[in-house]
Symmetry: D2
Subunit: 307 residues, 4 copies
Amino acid sequence: MVMKIGMIGLGKMGGNMVIRLKNGGQDVVGFDRSQEAIDHLVSQGVAADALTSDMDRFIELLGEPGQRAVWVMVPAGQITQSVIDDLAGRLSAGDVIIDGGNSNFHDTQRRGEALAAKGLHFVDVGTSGGVWGITEGYGMMVGGPDEGVERIRPALEALAPAPDRGWGHMGPTGSGHYVKMVHNGIEYGMMQAYAEGFELMKAHQTFNLDMAQIAEVWRHGTVIRSWLLDLTAEALKNSADFDQLSDYVADSGEGRWTIIDSIELGVPTPVITLATQMRFRSQQDVSYQGQMLSAMRRAFGGHAVKT
Amino acid sequence: MVMKIGMIGLGKMGGNMVIRLKNGGQDVVGFDRSQEAIDHLVSQGVAADALTSDMDRFIELLGEPGQRAVWVMVPAGQITQSVIDDLAGRLSAGDVIIDGGNSNFHDTQRRGEALAAKGLHFVDVGTSGGVWGITEGYGMMVGGPDEGVERIRPALEALAPAPDRGWGHMGPTGSGHYVKMVHNGIEYGMMQAYAEGFELMKAHQTFNLDMAQIAEVWRHGTVIRSWLLDLTAEALKNSADFDQLSDYVADSGEGRWTIIDSIELGVPTPVITLATQMRFRSQQDVSYQGQMLSAMRRAFGGHAVKT
Amino acid sequence: MVMKIGMIGLGKMGGNMVIRLKNGGQDVVGFDRSQEAIDHLVSQGVAADALTSDMDRFIELLGEPGQRAVWVMVPAGQITQSVIDDLAGRLSAGDVIIDGGNSNFHDTQRRGEALAAKGLHFVDVGTSGGVWGITEGYGMMVGGPDEGVERIRPALEALAPAPDRGWGHMGPTGSGHYVKMVHNGIEYGMMQAYAEGFELMKAHQTFNLDMAQIAEVWRHGTVIRSWLLDLTAEALKNSADFDQLSDYVADSGEGRWTIIDSIELGVPTPVITLATQMRFRSQQDVSYQGQMLSAMRRAFGGHAVKT
Amino acid sequence: MVMKIGMIGLGKMGGNMVIRLKNGGQDVVGFDRSQEAIDHLVSQGVAADALTSDMDRFIELLGEPGQRAVWVMVPAGQITQSVIDDLAGRLSAGDVIIDGGNSNFHDTQRRGEALAAKGLHFVDVGTSGGVWGITEGYGMMVGGPDEGVERIRPALEALAPAPDRGWGHMGPTGSGHYVKMVHNGIEYGMMQAYAEGFELMKAHQTFNLDMAQIAEVWRHGTVIRSWLLDLTAEALKNSADFDQLSDYVADSGEGRWTIIDSIELGVPTPVITLATQMRFRSQQDVSYQGQMLSAMRRAFGGHAVKT
């Protein structure tokens, strides 16, 4: 099946998705304020007249009112809010707005109510897969009203690894972003588990182990084989590059939101939480708690402390 | 290449490995004290005269002294020790003993020294893959002297998912069991990350999410796809069965040893540690720390506590 | 110095505070909807005509408009909100409302703005000390505008362990409840540290240690002596009673809010967080994550699991 | 009661204990290889002829064979072992050796057996109180045979905060060091709880809170008042000094041993463990796990990472 769909935001994620949709036979148009993003997509083979930095023009390209569908793929937060506000004023009852970004599910629930009041269908798609999605397909967790989800089914089937795999309609509005949020929390925990194990083996110098070899061996036949391990094995192949990396680990909102949800629900999530808090620790230049512990040790024990 | 190899211990792991070795063209003989285990393997197509519950006979079946290789696949600890002690008295310089079980690497290092003093080659193989290894191949982390490892290469190549994948020579004696130990520590962390995420989604009742569907969707295209997730998705398909499971989670030695190693080396492993400690918690009927906290709360706050 | 002050909520905390204020020479009146709470205070020597279950009468007892001060000591949340709403309609510019309960500091900040708009002074007092406060004095963390805080200074000095100890003006509205919130988070961490240590010693059966003796010994001269330990030692004296306690550990909002604040600020708080999450765990009858881990273990290892 | 007792090791701990013993009316002699340590004690009023750097002389000063008591206060590990080995050769049946240091209880149990075989009484004393012990008394957890403990009772009563407080006979040999080990584990947890709370309040800049004021307020009337908090409040008074402290937090063996014991016994100790692991983290210059997480993020998400 073929559908017409517009993409707002042609960056790393949105741009790749335009290409995968086009390759999947969909009729896709795109908007980005940046001409550079548009030029890049044109260089990748997307027709120039399907891309625009003019919002009025973009809306025209979407087709008939009541049949239009716009996939918003911009940073979560204020930018997503203002794009959706703008679209709400331009689109009509029956049109579909998809938020494919990493929005907080509370925001999504609120937006869903506001858009439903205008007769718009709001579909939230938690999208996983990163830069590999263009070739391997995207994992997509979809929330929203049945009609909206059904309307964009051709796009979802084209973006997924296969039409019947790697995507699903989770539940009402917000559930897609919610499940994606938990997905990312789990991801933090898994990443930290691997990283701890490798750091430990590195520190156990008796055996002089080869991290790249171990990661490669573990990819096949073991209980802990995974796609993250595949990527890690690849990254370890060039250790010279690896050694130059900072140990600063950024975190996006989802890990934090997962923890907050678990606290509100009273569910113990020690692994997801610790994985996230170790990132916080990595982001500190000087740890005030460390200084305080040094001060205490000096106070009761006369322990020499570093200054 | 073909080699002759003897397997001691024809249980769930050892028995399956005999079959995979045979299917891989190796000349394999087996020993188990249990006739039942032997009968089971015969029913699976292994020649009856290659299996025995008589240790003298088993040693005869192994072939020429100095060329023999015995793979020990019995429970770690005292049983492994006594089997190796027995073999050490029966075998000769140049023979190879493989410990394929989950022995503590400190024990392995000690045993390696003792056996090397007698001219025996001792190879430790951390073996992963569980009940699926017979069809998918085993992930194997190998430690020991080069000569010993090279001698059993045909067996390793037959047991692995492919001759050049899923196994590797990690380093000196003990390193195979060491890397397998860390593998299991990581496994605990990953399992706990998934379990926390699913428990959270289950508890977030607003969306009435379908755990089986989510696990299935996540298997394709997402960052957290893995073999553990494949198994989890399969297990969730029959929720009636799932609901009857106990929440008691056993732990084998490896998680504990991983933590002890990290403590001795001063490496922070919060995720692996917490994953293991949550298992400890699951193993308690009554938590004394919980009782003490109740007592404290009552003492300072006059809080009503359950009795 | 003497001031007139009204107390709303004459339960375990509020009732005791009325008595301590009276003993401290303050002119205190009280309101509670429950005649039983009033009767109890009368039996403790509080004058019957200073107590009422009639709100109109209570307001009359407070004295001159613009000079009145009301201390609200009711459960956080909806009840606190409705009491404050009611008071806001009855009091006048210049009057002071104190929230001595465990309100969330975000609510307090919001209420402070609303009340300031009406010319009312809103002071938040995080109050610690539990049932012992009546004799030992209350630790109080005070937030709010200078004028409001100064107006109630006589009451604070009477409630505190000493006029110049155990209380302080932390900062603007909300800061009192905020510091009290963190205080409770720390309390969770400390309690859990003790409880883990005692559980460990209990489990180490070789030494057959006496928990009550240890707690008593630790109270003097050691680095970990504290008031919580004093209470624990007392509780341990009657071990027969102790053994009958449930291991269910309730948690109030403050621990959760502390964690949420730390997540929002990106500050690592592993100890406070884990202490709280272990309480969550204690509150579960069946752990879904435990069931899932059992299911995984069975799936990959054929491990026997409890059902 | 008065007894004669010899102290080996006149450093920060042992030297202060000599003074407290002397002030407590005990007949104490001391040995240290360092003349500087001896001179310092003499300057503090200890008689020069009671102190020596000559071991033969020291043994003479101890009095009659079979009635002698030597308190060893030297660093745990090899030094303690060699001092005890030396003493075992010089002393006779009926003499008492006390290990007042932070030895591992497994070592203590082993040493106790070896010394008992020679008729020597071996008493282990876990000693808490740090540099404050000289004035406030030492908290002491005592293990060993009844006869040995009774023989040194006068010394214990003089060292304790009061004759009947702050010390106790915990159980057989090793139990004193064991309980002290757990004491230190709890200490780590408590310190970390405070440090997390203060770091959080420091980071919550809205309220511009004064850490020194908060610590001082919390010392009186609150649930979390403790001796550690007293010291912290004192340390915070000079914030200029505080800000110059390193955030590197050393750890002694006891925290690690506590965790290892908990792992071996299967007791969940998340707070003690995390408190210790955060110290490990503080000791790292570059975190390899941080680098690995950066590498993974770049691999799957194309996330920009710091280099």
